[in-house]
Amino acid sequence: MGKLLEVKNLEVSFQTYGGEVQAVRGVSFYLNKGETLAIVGESGSGKSVTSQTIMRLIPTPPGKIKNGQILFDGEDLVKKTDKEMEQIRGRDIGMIFQDPMTSLNPTMKVGHQIMEVIMKHQKLPKSAAKERAIELLRLVGIPMPEKRVNQYPHEFSGGMRQRAMIAIALASNPKLLIADEPTTALDVTIQAQILELMKDIQKKTGTAIIFITHDLGVVANVADRVAVMYAGKIVEMGTVDEIFYDPRHPYTWGLLASMPSLDSDDKAELASIPGSPPDLTNPPKGDAFAPRNPYAMKIDFEMEPPLFQISDTHYAATWLLHPDAPKVEPPEAVKRRLRKLSTNYPQPIIVRESE
């Protein structure tokens, strides 16, 4: 499988009154064609900024891409002009946003909002675009699409609006679909439907998906691979199995331990991660997670950890993987699910030295 997207050492910051906020601090990952990558993290971890930077949607100023490359089909999106980006947005990359209540224009018919994309990129005449819009609404599971195209967003329920958003994002068969917390604002039952729909659509169209979420539970369902972000960096990345059954970073442990699951017994308490993410105007020295990390060592407060590779697909940035580090036990909830994965290297190897 060829790489569709490769992000290399991306750094994005925002100029605010309080100083420069370094929202994304050196993020690298790739995405294969037809694959789903989930980016997980707390609010403020930089996951949304990363995804919006790929689309070049961050307002500049105050935002600024300080460094890095975004290779999409071999072309660097960072270097594209606004005019060139207009040809990519909506056509090659579609995007779904968090809040379907506010992401649709309230005074424009839903059908028209879908047709806009088709008319812009496929250059279809109005009548053909409308046919296509109806077809798309049907594809995303909206009943009576012929009637619905002529309705306004306020006549749609939340779940239906998100379906309409998906129809907009899919309108010109994009190679990549970025879904920025697409289910967060929805009811739990609707969430499941939307997730099903996205999986279904991926099967039908073969589009690659970047799925941004703060909810690890959702991830297991939809993703092939997972990247965990904290304070503007990817702290761990691997296949779903690797993240769920063999996590290495204490932050991933914390996330897993705080996730409710049906098979956990009633008495087990959900763990929470104490504290809150650091202020990225002045990122802390060393590992940004150290102040909240119960396993922190002195070195965590001094130096940033190097990036270790645990298998062909599994990476983690934590000092705990250093040969000199003491052996620690992950939290009970995580320990219960640990499995031996046969693909692991005998020893984690350092692929990027600490700075």
């Binding site: 009154y17 909240r292 965590d300 407060f301 000199d324």
Partner: protein, 305 residues
Amino acid sequence: MQQIPKEMFQPAVANVGEAEKLSKPSLSFWKDVSIRFRKNKLAMFGLILLILLVFMAIFGPYMTKYDYATNDLMNTNQPPSSKHWFGTDELGRDIFTRTWYGARISLFIGLAAALIDLVIGVLWGGIAGYRGGKTDEIMMRIADILYGVPYLLLVIILMVILGQGLGTMILAMTITGWVNMARIVRGQVLQLKNQEYVLAARTLGASTSRIMFKHLIPNAMGSILVTMTLTIPNAIFTEAFLSYLGLGVPQPLASWGTMASEGVQALQYYPWRLFFPATFICLTMFAFNVVGDGLRDALDPRLRK
């Protein structure tokens, strides 16, 4: 691989309390507002202008040896000079003295109208919003009907029939003027009264008036203040308008409105007679408007970080 001393791998659990410490000092609401207001150069300029205008309104009339009402028919329509700083009018009265005397009247009308609107509007809107139900229904229906009555037309009719004077003017302006304030206060109170801290206060047995004046009104203060800063220039404007229609304060009293409307008639020959009162009306309007805008921006929670 880098060489790292072994002792660096000793556990060092951070103090979570430390991490929880707020990185920025937290500011009280009004402190925050005042900082943001002071950053707004235009609004600060407006505020300084207002302070100067008020200062001159108080002390300006004493800076010359002239009286605002004494005619000097030997020295009519004099241009500005070292003797008469702003010149004289057609009865030889000193325009400098009259301008600052007029400032008192214009500002007084503005302030009085705003204060009366404030009292009636806050009570009416506060009670309607807080009581809700039928009371609210009836009170707001009345307000709606009054709101429909064209404001300036009613003011004109009242001035024509009740006769000119400072008191009638303020009465005419406030008779329906308070409705706007009442609507804003009601909206705020409706929004605030269901918030947890008000429910908490009620659960703790606080009396209605205590909740009104300790919890609801202070929190609605922002919008009330903004409305007030925009009522004052409106009243000054109305005064000028009425003066032009010949319904201003009676002679020999001076207000900026009457001076400007007399000045308009003499514009071709004695332009300074319009220039001074007109400039000060405009400056005052400008100052109140930018202060009001600045306040609104400073109070807007969406802009607060």
